[in-house]
Amino acid sequence: MQTFGQQLINGLSLGSIYALLALGYTMVYGIIKLINFAHGDIYMLGAFWGYYVINGLHFNFILTLLSAMIFCAIIGVLIEYFAYRPLRNSPRITALITAIGVSFLLENGMTYLFSANARSFPQVLPTITYHVLGLRISNIQLIILGTACLLMILLELVIKQTKMGKAMRAVAVDPQAAQLVGINLNHTISFTFALGSAMAGAAGVLIGLYYNSIDPLMGMTPGIKAFVAAVIGGIGSVPGASLGGFLTGLLETGVQAIGLSAYKDAVVYFVLIVILLVLPAGIFGKKLKEKV
């Protein structure tokens, strides 16, 4: 029971980071039907940004988080502008291959500039461990979980309540009709990349706090897992991505807890396959209904 509670807390905090990352995949997919393979690398850039502003500029946690979000939002918008926009009307596979190329560029570029060595992420917050009902809960876990949930709620409000959020949804379901009411596709797509990348930037800083270690290839595996999370939730669905992220995190820590650490990734992918066999569109995925 205690182990269970402990793993639940570990799983939720890790899962909240996957959820933040999965949101970016799902939003970008929703609007331009592109799996942005470079998304995990934007998260890596967020972590490196955090590393430098904490060490160099002595930013506190909030400033680090906000500046990483802004930095990554700008990077995301630039990637879309230079790499994906010119291919807007090309076959989807072209953009997909470009996304893989962008991912390699970021990973190798960062390795070249900063070396492949892992660095320890500076401790911007002192760790305090609470002992509650026999569970060990650190303030870092709570901050990760709280920050991630707060960001997800804010994102949901932006998407559901603001005019730009509604425009995003309009473009996602019907780009032609969106243009006919005067919505600018390019602005809306840039906005979507900015939002998704800001979430990835926040996730990068949070993972730095969680694992204390960052390196230029750190985005690969979590990127794929977050993508899996987005697919489990139903790609294109925002609540689905959050749920998928938490599920993935819980699954991973659960598998580790029962002593199968070596297989944790395999189990995540296995569950993905099972879910997709039962629910091909994911948990919250839409049955493709086209009304003409």
Binding site: D174, Q176, Q179, V181, I183, V292
Partner: protein, 234 residues
């Protein structure tokens, strides 16, 4: 108000519009009728800036339009009700209307625009918090028209608004088109339902295979033998 001159539009190697000229004067209802595939929707998409013409000119209030992007054309006062409605599923009725007003800067007048739309279409007010995808076909058509009205257009382009609707809905839609026009909006109406369209139109054009074959007042076209045979069921 709108003058189209020698418009040519291609889809790849296929020439869909082969030199069409037509004009719409302020305050009119002009109808464009023609068989399936004649090129009616293509003309509307070109006016709205979704398709670039190969050649020809579109002049709106003395300004060339054929190079402008869709949002700029909506801001200039041309709004389209697309064929097949194309409302935004997943957004509520009211959010769909809000998107119709996307380009509006005069926020203080928005409440009045909603009120106007709800007056034309009371059912939309009852359903305003409902997902637009749950509306019936006729209600979706009304929403598409309401959404187009929300931009406060001077020229409204309607693409087959009666398609797939029951006769009672069709009559209502045509009454409302007339009312919208009477309230000061110029209308370009595309219809399969040529009888009804010509009956409310000041003037009409008959399009066949990408070319204008006939033009005249609504009454002239209604009385025309060739039109009767081809489009009015003899």
């Amino acid at each position: 108000m709108l003058d189209i001159k020698d418009l040519v539009v291609n889809y790849g190697a296929i020439q869909a519009i082969k030199g069409v000229s037509l004009s719409i004067h302020t305050g009119e209802i002009v109808t464009l009728i023609g068989a399936n595939g004649a090129g009616k929707s293509t003309i509307l998409q070109t006016i709205s800036g979704l398709i670039r013409p190969v050649s020809g000119e579109i002049t709106y209030l003395q300004h060339p339009l054929q190079r402008d992007a869709a949002p700029k054309i909506v801001r200039a006062g041309i709004s389209q009700v697309p064929e097949g409605r194309h409302i935004f599923p997943g957004l509520s009725v009211q959010e769909n209307l809000q998107m119709g007003a996307f380009i509006r800067k005069d926020r203080q007048n928005l409440a009045q625009s909603y009120a106007e739309v709800y007056q034309y279409f009371p059912v939309l007010k009852q359903r305003r918090y409902q997902d637009a995808a749950t509306l019936s076909g006729g209600e979706q058509q009304m929403l598409a028209m309401g959404r187009a009205l929300m931009s406060h257009p001077r020229l409204m382009l309607l693409d087959e608004p009666s398609m797939g609707l029951a006769p009672i809905f069709i009559n209502e839609i045509f009454d409302i088109i007339r009312a919208i026009n009477a309230a000061g909006t110029t209308v370009l109406l595309i219809e399969q339902n040529a009888n009804k369209a010509l009956a409310i139109a000041d003037r009409g054009y008959v399009l066949a295979a990408g070319q204008i074959k006939l033009q005249g007042t609504g009454q002239e076209l209604l009385d025309n033998q060739a039109v009767q045979q081809a489009y009015l069921g003899g």
